[in-house]
């Protein structure tokens, strides 16, 4: 198994190096980190040149990349344009995104399991058709559109009640928050809309997997055997059926987790959350090469790791894969 893991990790290294170089070049060529400075009145050419030198912008692209990747390999992600360590920014943003993604993933898993199992058990009933319809609607709806619709509905509700029940900006309030309860209430209030958006787009696909998996299990021999042995139907479904039907979903969730992080870009932009998504967009807009490339490198790394986790889970579940 260890050999298998090492083999997979080794295979991902050249891919990540190539990807990082491509991203570094694309970002470096597409934005001007000194654009805002140039816009300032009275800024001398010497000041711009000095800043350019300080940021190594006067160096050839390949030299800049080699310097950057060397530092990265030594564990130093460098400094952002504003002088703050890239690692600090990524850590801060990651904690915000993680809060959103974990909350959304937990709710989406629960929702997907319940909806998927019920759809399978009550196949071709009104419930099944309704759940299928809803799943396909959310699955096919663009995230930015769904986020915008939810946001608009929430604001209308606020306007109707005359109170700001749902907040649409940021992951926390800007005012003075005192006490634990206030803090929890403030954070929770800001989480509702972004989490709901991510839940709806995520649960849709997962519930379909869960339904298909459950349907397959329902027709399995061991289920018939359990029923024939007189095991109560509830126990057949939950203990024998659901437990086995969860295995495919587990691997799908593992694979999708990294995608969820990346997918939060749009949601964080719409709801102005200061997570990884918004950090990435801002870094691109400002031409912050070090930050955007580090971001992408970590995102790519996360995809590799989660794919590896999925493969390992597969391998553990099915020895044929491990030995192939």
């Amino acid at each position: 198994m260890l050999r298998y893991i090492l083999k997979r990790l080794a295979a991902s290294v050249p891919m990540m190096l190539v990807a990082s170089f491509a991203v570094f070049c694309l970002v470096a060529l597409s934005g001007d980190p000194l654009a805002r400075l140039r816009e300032q009145p009275g800024v001398s050419a010497e000041a711009i040149a000095a800043r350019s030198e300080a940021l190594n912008l006067d160096q050839p692209l390949i030299v800049r990349y080699l310097g950057w990747i060397t530092n990265v390999l030594q564990g130093n992600l460098g400094l952002s344009l504003d002088g703050e360590p890239v690692a600090d920014k990524l850590t801060r943003a990651f904690s915000v995104t993680l809060r959103l993604v974990i909350a959304a993933a937990v709710v989406a898993i629960l929702l997907a399991v319940v909806v998927g199992v019920l759809s399978a058990v009550r196949r071709y009933t009104v419930w099944d058709y309704s759940a299928t319809f809803a799943a396909f609607v959310f699955f096919s709806m663009p995230v930015f559109f769904l986020a915008g619709v939810l946001k608009d509905l929430a604001i209308r509700l606020n306007e109707a009640t005359g109170h700001v029940i749902f907040t649409t900006v940021g992951e926390r309030g800007s005012g003075a928050v005192t006490g634990l309860l206030d803090t929890i209430s403030d954070r929770a209030g800001h989480m509702v809309l972004p989490t709901l958006t991510l839940v709806l787009v995520t649960f849709a696909a997962w519930s379909r997997y869960q339904r298909a998996s459950m349907l397959e299990i329902l027709g399995a021999d061991f289920m018939r055997t359990a029923r024939a042995k007189g095991v109560p139907e509830r126990s057949v479904l939950l203990r024998h059926g659901l437990r086995n039907a969860l295995i495919p979903l587990t691997t799908i969730v593992a694979v999708d987790f990294a995608t969820l992080v990346n997918g939060s870009i749009v949601i964080e932009t719409v709801y102005a959350w200061n997570g990884l998504g918004r950090l990435f967009i801002t870094s691109l807009q400002q031409g912050d090469v070090q930050l955007s490339t580090a971001w992408l490198l970590i995102a790519a790394g996360a995809v590799v790791v989660f794919n590896l986790v999925a493969d390992i889970v597969y391998a553990l579940l099915d020895p044929r894969i491990r030995h192939a």
């Binding site: 470096a28 140039r38 649409t168 200061n274 400002q286």
Partner: protein, 549 residues
């Protein structure tokens, strides 16, 4: 990106003229210096949330690292400012006891008296030691400083007493009233690790303004609270002002609608205006300043370098139509800009020139080209000595408003037989490579004027000027600009600036199009908001902001 929040320059220019006119126009220092709000209109307490596009990178606005609008917005009400600009471009001397006095003409010696009531929020007075420390750092060649303009001309700084200081200039400098902006407390900077360049990265230290720094939640917001040591008028009545960072302008309308922010200042754009107009309980106001859009014409280019071609382009362009299409939809009173030096048309003394180009005259353009030997070809495009009159227009890729402008210009020029081709490249490529190297024929550019229009014009049009992308050179212009820079008389400087402009209209190193408008949108429940197109921006009088009773 560079267009994203624009008023910065705007304000400055107004201050330019402000600077120039200060002698005559802004001697009054009274309770209404920073706005017209009275305490009677404002309820006590409450919070105002300002939607800010840029998050500060630190707080030392003098460094190139922190010389961005997001920093300026925050320190506007924190640091010591000798002078600020009112919306009409005149100056008021927030941090001074009186207008700076010219003690001597030759050599030029100017005396500043710090307001006796100016006190840092830690209780210590603002003194000449703060000024001296700032000056020493700004003029230190080893330090990161965005602009040393003006300070580099001071040969000696004398501290007369704790509140009075004098500067001796090695050559005459007419814009001296604009010096000593955003000065942080010296004692704090000296004692903070990181010093001049990094000492204010996380905390601006004590405040000399109406508010003081409370906290910075990175990526989220900065909170200012009233400074109890602020002894001037008006005094803040709100509990706090919060700068909420919203880099995406698309989130602004909903944030205002849901009352999660109360006020925002942004570049006026049609889609944003349309969104905001549908929000109940909002007030929208437009302000303009010295920030403007223009065409840069490369004098060193074999084709555009031909005066006949430049004049034909100027005649063929219908600048009014461009203004009508791009700006008038949300600013009906917008007009084309007719001064390349005094680019804040609202400021006193800015005269329109280039009368021959005020309205499009395609026939005149055709006559000029014909006379210069550019003959129409079978496809309608003119040619000379077998070479077609095709001009390449360099533009930033993916800029929608620029693309709209280009389409209009292309159509207008095609009517006189000039074929315009569009060449797009990333902003970094255009502004860092092609423009400085002169590798273009025509391009569209925005410029943010400062409070020093003459200094700006010398940089843009003076021989060898740092921003002289058109590679323009005219001895008469250089001489006028030198005279204007050295005069200490505001009216004379304006007169010379207008003379400089007339020379430019003869040579056409650029064609001004229009001033870029800034938008201030705020909840109707706020009082005391006065949009300000100068560098100081709408936050110039935040001390007088409040919630209505």
């Amino acid at each position: 990106m560079s267009d994203s929040r624009t008023r910065k320059p705007a304000r400055l220019l107004v201050s330019v003229v402000a600077t120039l006119l200060a002698l005559s126009a802004c001697s009054a220092i009274d309770e209404t210096s920073a706005g017209n709000t009275t305490t009677a209109e404002r309820a006590a307490g409450g919070e105002i949330v300002f939607g800010a596009e840029d998050e500060p990178s630190g707080f030392n606005y003098a460094t190139s690292k922190d010389s961005i609008l997001g920093v300026r917005d925050v320190v506007e009400n924190l640091f010591f400012f000798a002078a600020k600009s009112r919306p009409d471009g005149t100056l008021y001397y927030e941090g001074l006891a009186a207008e700076p006095a010219i003690v001597s003409d030759q050599p030029q010696i100017v005396e500043w008296k710090i307001n006796p009531d100016s006190t840092w929020s830690d209780g210590t007075p603002v003194t000449t030691q703060d000024i001296k420390y700032y000056f020493d750092n700004v003029t230190n060649p080893k330090n990161d400083v965005a602009s040393r303009v003006g300070y580099d001309l001071i040969s000696k700084l004398d501290l007369v007493d704790a509140k009075t200081f004098r500067a001796t200039f090695r050559s005459r400098y007419g814009d001296f009233r604009g010096l000593w902006q955003a000065v942080p407390q010296a004692a704090h900077l000296k004692s903070t690790p990181g010093g001049w360049e990094n000492g204010l990265n996380n905390d601006p230290g004590p405040s000399a303004g109406p508010y003081k720094f409370e906290r910075w939640t990175k990526g989220e917001s900065i909170t200012l609270v009233p400074n109890p040591q602020w002894k001037l008028q008006p005094k803040p009545t709100v509990d706090r002002i919060v700068f909420r960072f919203l880099p995406e302008s698309s989130t602004i309308p909903d944030a205002l609608r849901n009352q999660e922010i109360n006020i925002v200042e942004a570049q006026a754009q049609l889609d944003l205006m349309q969104d905001l107009q549908h929000v109940d309980g909002l007030k929208l106001e437009i302000s303009t300043g010295p920030r403007f859009e223009h065409l840069v014409l490369n004098h060193k280019d074999p084709v555009v370098g031909d005066p006949a071609v430049r004049k034909a382009i100027a005649h063929a362009l219908d600048r009014d139509a461009i203004v009508k299409a791009l700006v008038a939809p949300f600013q009906p009173e917008a007009k084309r800009l007719d001064n390349m030096v005094l680019t804040n048309a609202q400021a006193p003394g800015s005269e329109p020139h280039g009368e021959q180009y005020h309205s499009a005259d395609p026939e005149a353009a055709k006559r000029i080209l014909q006379y210069a030997g550019w003959i129409p070809g079978p496809n309608g495009v003119r040619a000379k000595s077998g070479k077609q009159l095709t001009i390449q227009f360099s533009a930033v890729a993916g800029n929608q408003r620029q693309e709209q402008t280009l389409e209009l210009i292309k159509n207008q020029l095609s009517k006189v037989g000039i074929n315009l081709t569009i060449d797009t490249c990333p902003a970094a490529c255009l502004f860092s490579d092609r423009l400085p190297a002169g590798k273009f024929q025509i391009t569209l550019k925005g410029f943010s004027g400062s409070p020093f229009p003459v200094a700006d014009a010398r940089a843009r049009f003076g021989t060898g000027g740092g921003d002289n992308y058109s590679k323009y050179s005219n001895a008469r212009f250089d001489e006028l600009a030198k005279q204007a820079a050295e005069t200490l008389q505001a009216q004379e400087q304006i007169r010379l600036a207008n003379e400089m402009d007339k020379v430019l209209w003869e040579d056409l190193p650029m064609l001004p199009l229009f001033q870029r408008p800034d938008l201030v949108a705020y909840r109707a429940s706020l009082v005391g908001i006065e949009p300000n197109g100068t560098r100081d921006g709408v936050l110039w009088n935040a001390a007088g902001w409040g919630l209505s009773k």
